[in-house]
Symmetry: D2
Subunit: 451 residues, 4 copies
Amino acid sequence: MSGILGIYSKDVEKISQMMYYGLYALQHRGQVSTGMAINNNGFIDYYKDMGLVNEVYKKETLDSFIGNICIGQVRYAFSSERIDKKNIEPLVIGYKNGALAVAHDGNIANYNSLRCSLEEMGSIFQTDLNSEVIANLIARAANTDIVEGINEVLEKIEGSYSLVMMTKDKLIGARDSYGIKPLSLGKTRDSYVLASESCAFDTLGAEFIRDITPGEIVVIDESGIKSIFKKQQPRKLCSFELIYFARPDSLINEESIYLSRIEMGKQLFKESPVDADIVIGAPDSGIIAAIGFAEASKIPYAEGLIKNRYVGRTFISPTKELREQGVRIKLNVLKENINGKRIVLVDDSIVRGTTIKRTVEMLKAAGAKEVHVRIASPPVTNSCHLGMDTPNKENLIGANNNVEEIRKDLGIDSLYYLSLEGLLKSVGDKGFCTGCVTGNYPIGKDGVKCH
Amino acid sequence: MSGILGIYSKDVEKISQMMYYGLYALQHRGQVSTGMAINNNGFIDYYKDMGLVNEVYKKETLDSFIGNICIGQVRYAFSSERIDKKNIEPLVIGYKNGALAVAHDGNIANYNSLRCSLEEMGSIFQTDLNSEVIANLIARAANTDIVEGINEVLEKIEGSYSLVMMTKDKLIGARDSYGIKPLSLGKTRDSYVLASESCAFDTLGAEFIRDITPGEIVVIDESGIKSIFKKQQPRKLCSFELIYFARPDSLINEESIYLSRIEMGKQLFKESPVDADIVIGAPDSGIIAAIGFAEASKIPYAEGLIKNRYVGRTFISPTKELREQGVRIKLNVLKENINGKRIVLVDDSIVRGTTIKRTVEMLKAAGAKEVHVRIASPPVTNSCHLGMDTPNKENLIGANNNVEEIRKDLGIDSLYYLSLEGLLKSVGDKGFCTGCVTGNYPIGKDGVKCH
Amino acid sequence: MSGILGIYSKDVEKISQMMYYGLYALQHRGQVSTGMAINNNGFIDYYKDMGLVNEVYKKETLDSFIGNICIGQVRYAFSSERIDKKNIEPLVIGYKNGALAVAHDGNIANYNSLRCSLEEMGSIFQTDLNSEVIANLIARAANTDIVEGINEVLEKIEGSYSLVMMTKDKLIGARDSYGIKPLSLGKTRDSYVLASESCAFDTLGAEFIRDITPGEIVVIDESGIKSIFKKQQPRKLCSFELIYFARPDSLINEESIYLSRIEMGKQLFKESPVDADIVIGAPDSGIIAAIGFAEASKIPYAEGLIKNRYVGRTFISPTKELREQGVRIKLNVLKENINGKRIVLVDDSIVRGTTIKRTVEMLKAAGAKEVHVRIASPPVTNSCHLGMDTPNKENLIGANNNVEEIRKDLGIDSLYYLSLEGLLKSVGDKGFCTGCVTGNYPIGKDGVKCH
Amino acid sequence: MSGILGIYSKDVEKISQMMYYGLYALQHRGQVSTGMAINNNGFIDYYKDMGLVNEVYKKETLDSFIGNICIGQVRYAFSSERIDKKNIEPLVIGYKNGALAVAHDGNIANYNSLRCSLEEMGSIFQTDLNSEVIANLIARAANTDIVEGINEVLEKIEGSYSLVMMTKDKLIGARDSYGIKPLSLGKTRDSYVLASESCAFDTLGAEFIRDITPGEIVVIDESGIKSIFKKQQPRKLCSFELIYFARPDSLINEESIYLSRIEMGKQLFKESPVDADIVIGAPDSGIIAAIGFAEASKIPYAEGLIKNRYVGRTFISPTKELREQGVRIKLNVLKENINGKRIVLVDDSIVRGTTIKRTVEMLKAAGAKEVHVRIASPPVTNSCHLGMDTPNKENLIGANNNVEEIRKDLGIDSLYYLSLEGLLKSVGDKGFCTGCVTGNYPIGKDGVKCH
C-alpha cells in the first residue's frame, strides 16, 4: 500500500506546496519514504528520502520546485523490497521520448515474469520498484503515442495498480481493470488533482469530482482532460481498503469509509450479540466499528486502551529484558475503567494474532471480568499478492487455527469474526476482492524467479 | 507544564533506558525539548536538546549513561521564555557541595523578586529557567545539610512546583505546599520512581505507591526512602490537570482522569440537556467528555472530526494564500456523518476561541443542521501565573464576552459551559485551584521587574 | 576526473575499511560525492552520498559491509552533469546475468551517440553517468561471458576511461586503449587492489605491482589474476595528470609525479631565466615547480601566499558587497616577505586566468617590486572532451589572447609558459595526450544530441 | 589556545558575516567548537556548537543576527576540560547590570582558587570555562562602572588571558599584564576589530592598527575608543606563538611570524651545520624553518612528506590491526625523492616524540641514507599551565631524556635543538615566556582543589 498524488496546475509557484499538504493527507498510506517529482519547463526534477512528509521536505526544496505538473508518493514498507534509498518513488527516467516520472500504488503480480523478459532483452534494473518494470515497458512500447503506449503496456501488467505518471506536458492517471486500488479525481480553481483517497482533496480545499473508473487511463494536459479505457473487468476493490487502510474521512466508490465501518460494527452485533458492560475498540483500527457495535447494542461505548502517539522513526525499541520487566511502549490500559467489567473488544481484523493477544492480556491483568472479542472482518486465511502485504500463510493465525482454537489461545470468553456476507452487506456490495479471507483472487500468482 | 521523572535504581545499566521510556510516557506534558542527567559515580553527566524523546536521544547516548540515579524532563513551550537550547532542563550545576541537577514542573510566581535579589548578591544567570533560581538559592542556603537546605529554600519560593533533584548520592522529590502540580511515587523490583503522572509507572512496569503529599520533600538514597514536610496548606491541585493536561490513564489524587472526564460529560448533560442526533468530541481533548455526554443522554456517540497525527516539529505551515484557498492541515470533518444532522460538539474548554470557531465553521460547511456546543469546564476568565501558560486576559474570549456573545460569535444554536459546582462534583472535590475560572488563586502575582 | 578503487580480499571483515582509507587517499581526485559497493555473498550492497569520504561514511556502515570484493569512487563536479544524489558512482544494477557494479574515471566521448542508440532500443536512464551507458551496453552484449562481453562493449566506447567493475565473484579493471586515465595494480598479504593512483597503495600498506596497460582488461577472482588485451593504441596519458591532477607522491607510468614537477620548474628556468629575490609557488598547484625553479636558479625558494585550509562543503560564500570591501577567504599574502622584492611566481597552468590575476593583484598590493610569472605548461587553448573538464574555448584566456596580451592584462613584468618540448622532456616522453595545449586529441568529439 | 574576535560596527546587517569570515581566519587556533554572540538592541543572542566555522554556522543564523557589537571564539580541545556542548564560548550571562558576553584565550592559573572562593560565596557553575569565573567575579565587583569593575576583577586573575567582552553598548578587550596571549586592534571603514591575530584583519580587508598593550583594557563604544591600563609587567609573550601557534601571515608584536621562523631555520644551520642532499620540513609546522635552513645552508629545499588534508571531525580512525598492516592515514613519504639521499628533517619542536619517531621510520623505510633532525626550538621540559596545553611532564620526551638518548631512540644520524639564545635572537628578543623550555614561568601554579 502506498499513497499517490498528481497535480496539474496553472499556479506554478504553489504546486509543490499543494503536493506537500496532499501527501501529508495521505501519510497513513505509507510512512517509510516519500518523494515528489516536478516538471520544470520540460525538465523533470525530483526530491526523495526516507521518512515522513514533514521530515523529508524542507522549505527550500519546495520553494525551488516550480512547475505546472507534479507527482508524488508516500510509501509503505513492503516486505518484498529492501527499505532502502533506492526504492523510493516517483521513479524518474529519461528514454527515447524524453522524461517520464511514475508513482505506483499496488502490486504487480507478474513482476518477476516481466522483469526476467526485460532483462533478457537487455534492460538493467537499479531498484526493486514495480514502477521500474512499468517504465521499461513504456520505453519499449511499439506505439509511439505516449497514451497509446501506456495503454499497450498496461495490457501486459497483471496485478493491482493505481498509477500517476508525468511526461513533459501531461499528467496521466491509470487504474487497473479490476479497480483493486483506489484513485480519485478532484479539482480546485487552478488545478486538477489525482489522489489515492479523497481526504487529500479536503486537505487541499479541492472538490471531489469522481473515482477513476477501473481500467481507465486519464490524461490531463493543456487541452484539458480526457480518458481512454482498457477492457474493463468486474470491479474488485480491495476490501481491506474499507476495513483498514483508508482514512475514515475518505470516500471510496462514493462510499463513506467511516459509515462502512460503523455498519460493520452494527452488523457484528447483529450476528453475534453479547451482554456486557462496555464496548471498547482496539486503537486505532477498531475504534469506529466499536462505536457502531455500541450504538447497535446500546452497551455504552468507552475507551479502554490509551495509545501513545509520539513514536517516531528513530524510536529505540526496548530490550527483551526490559519488556520482560514490564516496559510497555505504545499501549496502556485504562485500569479504572476495565476493572471488574465485562468487556466487548472490537478490532478490524486479526492477522498474526500477536497484537490482540497482548491487548487481551493487558485487559485481563487490569481486572476485566469477561472479554468478548468481535472482529469486523472474516478470518484472514490467505497471503495477498495484490498489494496488501500480508505475511506468509504459516504466520496467519486464521489460516492455521479454527475460531475456537484462537479463542482458547487468547484466553477469552467469546470470539466472533464478521461473516463475509455481513461484511459485504456493510460496505454496500459493489464488487470487492476478498481474496485474503476467501482465497478467490481475481489475478493469480506468478511463480517465476529470474536469476 | 512539563513532565518530570526521577529514578533511583540498583540496575545501573538499565536506568537510562528506563528514563527514556518514562519520559516518553510523559511526552504529552511537553514536546519542545527534553533532557536527562545521570549520576555516574558522583559525576553528573547530561544530554539535552530540542525535540521529542524519540528525536533527541540516540542509543549510543543511553548506552553510555551508566549510573544509579537519573532525572529527566520533557518541556513545554512557555510563552514567557525563549524556545532555545539554553532553556532545557534538567539544570546541572557544580556548587560548594558538589554536583546538583534540578528538573521542575510549574511556575515560580516570585521568580523575578528572587532573581533580582540573587543578582544583587552577585549571582549570574545563563538561562531563563525557574530551576536556575532554585539552584542559586540552594547554593546560598544557610543550612549545610542538603535536605535541610532545600527545605529552607522552598520556604522562600512562592508558586507551583513539583521538583525532582539529584545530588551525587540522593534522589530528591518535592511538591509545593498547595500541591498545585502533581508528583507520584512508584516502585519496581530494583528502583524507586518519581513521576509527574502515574502513566509513566504503567509504561515502566512499576507499581503505583502514592502521590507525594503537598509540602512533602522525599529523599531516596542508599539507606532507603524518607520524607520531611513543610507547613502544609489546603490542597489546591490545578483543576486543568483533570480537565485537560493529564493523560486519561493517569491517576492523580487517586482519581482516574478518564473517569473524571466521563463524569464531566455526564454532568454537562444533566446541567444542559439537548435533543440531537449525535454527540461528537473535539479531538483529542473533548473526546472523553463527549463519550460521557453520549452515555448520559442516550444520543449516539460518533466521530465527526478526523485529526491527522503526523505533524512533526519541522512541519512547514501553509502560507496565508494557501489557507485562504482552503488548505486545511490538521483536522478534517466527516461530511457524510455530519450532513443534515443535529450535532452536540463537546470540548474541554475554550481559551482564545479560535480553534472552536474554525471547528464549528467546518461542521456548518459540512451541512450540520444544528450545532450545540457543550464545554466541560466554566469560562476561562483569568490568565494563570501558576504554570498553566494561558494567554493574557485580553486574549481570553471568556474574559471579554458573555456566553450569549460567544454563542453568537460562533454562529451556533446553543452553548453551555459546565458550572463550577458541576466541575468540582465531577472530579470529587478534594481541593482544587480554580483560579483561571474564578480568579481565586492561592498565591498572588509578583510585579517585580529586575533590569 | 574521479578516483576509483577496487579491492579483492580474503579478509571479508576489513575490506570496507580498506576501501575507506583507500578512497580517502584519492580524495584529491574528487570532492563532490563518494560511494562504495560491496559484494555480500553474491548480493551487491552499496552506500553513496554527496560529500567527502570522512563526511559520507559512518562506522556502522563500514561495520555492516562484509564481503570479499568492493569497489568505490570519489567524484569530481563535472560541469556536464547535475551535482545530484542520482549522479554518484559506483552504479549498481541487476541484469540478466545477476548483479554488476561499475565505477569510472574519464569521459566517454561518444556518450550521446551510445545513449541515443540505447534509448532507441528501449533502454531507460536514471542518471547522467557515463557508467549507466556502459552498464546498458554490457547488459546487451552478445557474448554471454562477462569478460568477453566487457571486451565487446569497450570496443564501442570512444573516449577516456579507467574502470573498476564487480560481478558477484569477480573484480574487473579496464583501461582505455590510449591509457588516457591512470590505473594501477597493488597487492597486500590478503588482497589485490586496483587504484587510480599508487598513493592509495601507500596509504593501505600495499605494494605497487604495475600500471594496468592501455587496452588491458584485468580480471581478479578466486582463481587468481589474469588479463586480456584489446587492440592497443600508442599511449596517450593525459599530460595534466602530471601537471596538476595526480598527487605528488603517486607514480604514474613508473614516473614520480613530484620529480616530474621539479623537472618542469627546472626546465622553466632553463627556458626563461630571470633575476629575482625570491621564487614562490601559487598554492598548492605551483609549489613543486617553484621549488624546482628555485633549485635551478639558485634564487631562494620562499612562501609568499598562505592558504586557509578549512573551507568545507557548507562554507558560506561572501556577498559581492563584502568582497568589494576586501573580505578575502582562501588566500592571504605574506606582506613582510613580499614587500620591496622581485618575485618569481610559479604556477602549474592558466585556465581562465581569474585566479592568477587575483594573486598578482595581492602581490602588487603587498609591495612586490617586480612580478615574473612562470607557468609549468604551455597555454591551454582547447576545451578537453576526454575528462579534464576544462571550460569552453571562449573562457580559456590562452585561446583568446597571446602571451603579451595576457602579461599586460595581469600587469606583470614578464610571463613565460613552458614550451611543449620542455614539458615533454620534463615528464620523460612516453606518450602523452596534449590536446588541451596542441589541439591534437587522439579521439574526436561526438556532435550528437538525443532529444 | 583559542582564537577570539570582537567587532564594533556601524553596519548592523553585515557584522555577523564579518564575524564568520574573521573566525574562519582564526580557525587554526581551535577546531573543536565555535560560538558567536551578538548585541541585538541591548539583548545578547548567541549561537554555539561543536565543529569548524564552516560546519557550525548556517546562512539563516547569520542572516538573523543583526546588531552593532559581536564577539566570537574558535576553541581548542583543552585537555583539562570536557569536550562538551556546555564548554563553548562566548559565555553569555545576565547579571545585576544586564547582559554580558565573554570570550577568552589563555589559561587562568588560579582558576581553582577563584572558583572555590566563589562557590563558598554561593556561586553556581554550569561549565568548566575560565570565562565563567571571570563573569562571576565581574558580577560581584565592588565598582559599579563596568570598566572599573573589569579592572578590579583582572587584578585578581593570575594567568594568561586575552579577552573580548560585550555589554549592551560596549566592546571591551583586555590583555594580561605580561601580554602572554596576543590581541590586536584593526579597523575598517565602518568598524573596529579586536582579534587574536592580524591575519583576521587581512581576511576582513581591515587595516592593522596596533597590538593591544600588555595590561591594557580597551573600550569601544558610541563615543569612540579609549583605554585604561593595569600595572604593566615586563612583557612575556608565549614563545610558542612564534614557534608554532600563530599563522605565518600574522604579525605579533610587529614581528612577522613567517620571517621569525625563516630566521629560526637559518639560526639552526648556523648552530648545527650538516652536509646533506636535501632539506625537508615536517608538515606543516616545520616547513618554514626548513626553507630557512635550506637558504642558509645552500642545500636544496625539497618536499619529502605529503599530508592528506581532508581529515575531518568525523574521520574514522583505523583499528590497531589495520595500522599494523600498514594503513597510514595522514602522511606519506615521497619515496622517489628520499631514496638514497642524505636528509635534513626540520621540525618546530618535539613534545611527546611519537610523531617525529613515526616520520623518521617512514623516511628510513623509503631508503634515506642519513637522517639529520634539526628542531627549531629548545627541548620542551616543562608542562605549561598558562595556556599551551602541553602534556604532563612524564610524557615530555625532552624532560626525561637527554639529546643523545632521544637521537638513539629515533635511530637517526644526528639531532640538534635550537639553543635558547638562538631562538630569542631569531624572534627579536622583546620579552618572551620560555617556561616550557626553561621552567621560568612569570606566574606560578595553583595547587587548590575545590571539592
